[in-house]
Structure formats: C-alpha cells, structure tokens
C-alpha cells in the first residue's frame, strides 16, 4: 500500500466516529482517572441486575472497622470473566481495586479483585469502557 493510500486510510479511520466510552452513569458517579484499593472481609455479595454489589468490612490500623461497598458490572459481564454467584462468600478476605466515588465516601466501582492469596478472581480486570 502506498504512503498516499496509508494517509487516506488514516484519514478515513480518523473520520469514523468511535464508541469506546463507558456508560455515562459510570462517569457521572465515579472518577475514571483515580484508583482506590481496599482489603477487607466480605459481608455480602449480591449477584444482581442492573449491577452487583460487594459489602466489605475493612479493618483500620487502630482496629476499628470501616464499611465499604464495591459495585460491580452486571452479572452477564461478570460471568463472561469467569465469575459465579459463589465466587466469593461472606468471611472471605479480598482485595478490591477500582474507581472511587466522586463524593469521597467508601464506595467504589470494581475493576479488579484478588483473594487472600493474591490470586485474581475471574479471568481479567474490567476495563473502563465495559463500565455501565
């Protein structure tokens, strides 16, 4: 392919509108440019639509417990990455990394989760564009 054709192809590709953004409610409530990581004990896992939810007790250095909640993708997306409804259960210790709530409370959108041994739960993290 000639350089002229390459340039024409590049121009054509640049002109094609692409849709690669997360759903808008995600960007409204969570900060896609920040990351937060918490380690805690699972107290509840809801494998529900439109989104799932994990409740965590996070022990602070002074011994007190901080309540956190992590919102997940819809079950159909979780299943695609190898999750099941019993992939975690109350009492499990997990480390969750994700995008923090814009209002600074203990609430996040889950991007990745690992078990107590550091093994990823599911086959891959959830990319920003898959957030709905």
């Amino acid at each position: 392919m000639s350089s002229k054709h390459l340039l024409a192809l590049a121009a054509a590709l640049a002109a094609v509108p692409t849709a690669a953004q997360a759903h808008h409610s995600f960007a409204a409530f969570f900060d896609p440019d920040k990351s937060v990581t918490v380690t805690g004990t699972v107290t509840e896992f809801r494998f529900t639509n439109p989104h799932g939810m994990i409740a965590l007790d996070v022990k602070k250095p002074d011994g007190s417990i901080e309540k956190w909640r992590a919102e997940t993708n819809a079950p159909v997306i979780l299943v695609e990455r190898g999750w099941t409804r019993d992939v975690i259960k109350p009492g499990d210790v997990v480390t969750i990394e994700g995008w923090p709530s814009r209002d600074g409370r203990n609430y996040l959108r889950l991007r990745d989760m690992k078990d107590a041994k550091g093994k990823r739960i599911g086959s891959a993290p959830f990319e920003p564009k898959a957030q709905s």
């Binding site: 509108p17 690669a20 953004q21 808008h24 409530f29 900060d31 989104h51 159909v76 997306i77 709530s101």
Partner: protein
C-alpha cells in the same frame, strides 16, 4: 383414536387456530436457540451495507461501549432532539424511578446481553435477557396493528423471508433512547432489521436500520452479531431498583 384420524383432526385444529397460519417456515433457516451477547462492534458485511438506504449513518456502539456525550455516531439530531439531548443528565438514569425502566428494542438488542429465539410457523419469539423483555415477530402475513394501537418498547413487528434472510419491519414503538446519551427517538420511528445465519451457522448476523424524521435528519443503522451457545439459557434479569439508593444525594462529576 386411529392414527390417520388423529392426524386429520390435528390438521383441522391447526388450520382453525387463530394466529397460527400455515406458512413455509420449516423451509427457512432455523434461527432458534440461545445467542450469546454481542460484546463488541464488528464491521457490517458489505452485502448488508448495500441494502441500506442512502443517507444512513452506521453506528459503531454495538456491545458495551457508548458514544461520549454530544456524539451520535454520525446521526444528525433535529433541533428538537438536540435540545432534549442537551438537557439530558446521566445521573437521572440512576434514580429509583428510572434505574429499572426498560429501554426500547433499538437500543436493547445491541447491548451486551444474550437472547433466545423460538421459531414456530407464523411466529418468532425473541426473549431478551436485558430487562426480561419479550418480542413477537409475526411471520404469518398479517399487517401492522391499526394506527391507534398502543405503542410499546418492543413495538409491533411483522416479518417475512427474503431467501435465507428474515426481514423484520417494526413500528408502534414508544419513545426511548437510541444511543443512551440523551438522543431519543420518537413514537414514529420505523425500524427494519435483516437477520441471517453466518456462513458457519454458529453466528447470527443482523443489520438494524431506522428512520425517524422527527428526531434524526438522516437515517441510522447498526450491525449486531451473536454467537450460538447450545445448552445455554437466558437468565432472569429481575432488575433490583435498590441500587439507585446508593446514588441518592451523591454529588456527581462533570466528566460525563
């Protein structure tokens, strides 16, 4: 009952059953089964693209991805549609009143959710996992519903076969989103879809074309592809609106 008499009785019963016409559906491709979610956008095959009327923008948001606010994949909103889109706020979608409200078939069918198809003489039923929605496509030759019939999220669909392609014509849709970023269609939108099996028989291919002069100055289209997964069944969606309580009172950001 003797077998020959039983067969004759069944034939009479079928012929007299309202809405079950004697069609040639068995001679057409079998689209039935579980079709896995379209996760990503694929390019529309050239022959399907060639069937699109002129002045049609092909959207590329099939699957999980969406257009940024103010971008509509080449669709040209009318002044009325643009004013509504400009006033749209994504946080409103996560209120108790809205979080579990189903959207219309034009947006629903391209999202990352599976569906199941049941194919019978004169009738094709599509069960979408997304919001537990059910759609009837009549292939018995009936016309569309009268103009004053209710408009719904699934609309009124009639289908016919053109060779190995099922062509579905849908109207009577109630207003809903097109791109989930504020651009809505009106209740006069007209949808035409073409469904066919891919060359390997393991993929279902569909083009979606729509026209809505009240809201879009040109026309729109999408290409959607599902993969067959035998032995799977769609799951109940059973949307839980309590998620919206997590968002109540939250200060939202501007990056949307």
């Amino acid at each position: 009952m003797r077998p020959c008499f039983a067969f004759a009785a069944a034939a009479v019963l079928l012929a007299c059953t309202p809405g079950v016409a004697q069609s040639e559906d068995s001679a057409h491709p079998d689209l039935s089964g579980y079709w896995g979610a379209p996760i990503r956008n694929e390019p529309m095959p050239a022959d399907l693209r060639a069937k699109l009327p002129p002045n049609t923008a092909i959207l590329t948001d099939t699957g999980a991805a969406e257009y940024p606010r103010g971008e509509y994949g080449g669709l040209i909103p009318t002044a009325k549609a643009k004013a509504k889109a400009d006033a749209w706020k994504p946080e409103d979608e996560m209120t108790l009143a809205r979080v579990c409200m189903p959207q219309g078939v034009i947006y629903d069918e391209q999202g990352p959710f599976p569906m199941e198809i049941e194919q019978a003489p004169g009738l094709i039923v599509i069960r979408y996992e997304y919001f537990d929605q059910v759609r009837l496509i009549h292939t018995d030759g009936r016309p569309h519903l009268p103009a004053n019939a209710p408009h719904t999220k699934m609309g009124d669909s009639i289908g016919h076969w053109e060779g190995n392609t099922l062509v579905v014509d849908t109207d009577h849709l109630e207003p809903s989103t097109i791109t989930n970023n504020g651009l809505d269609h009106s209740d006069n939108i007209h949808l035409i879809e073409r469904y066919r099996l891919g060359p390997d028989g393991k993929h279902l291919q569909a083009s979606q074309w729509f026209t809505d002069p009240e809201m879009i100055a040109n026309n729109g289209a999408r290409y959607i592809e599902w993969n067959k997964q035998p032995g799977h069944y769609i799951q109940p969606y059973e949307c839980d609106p309590s998620l919206a309580t997590e968002y109540q009172g939250v200060k939202t950001g501007a990056a949307n």
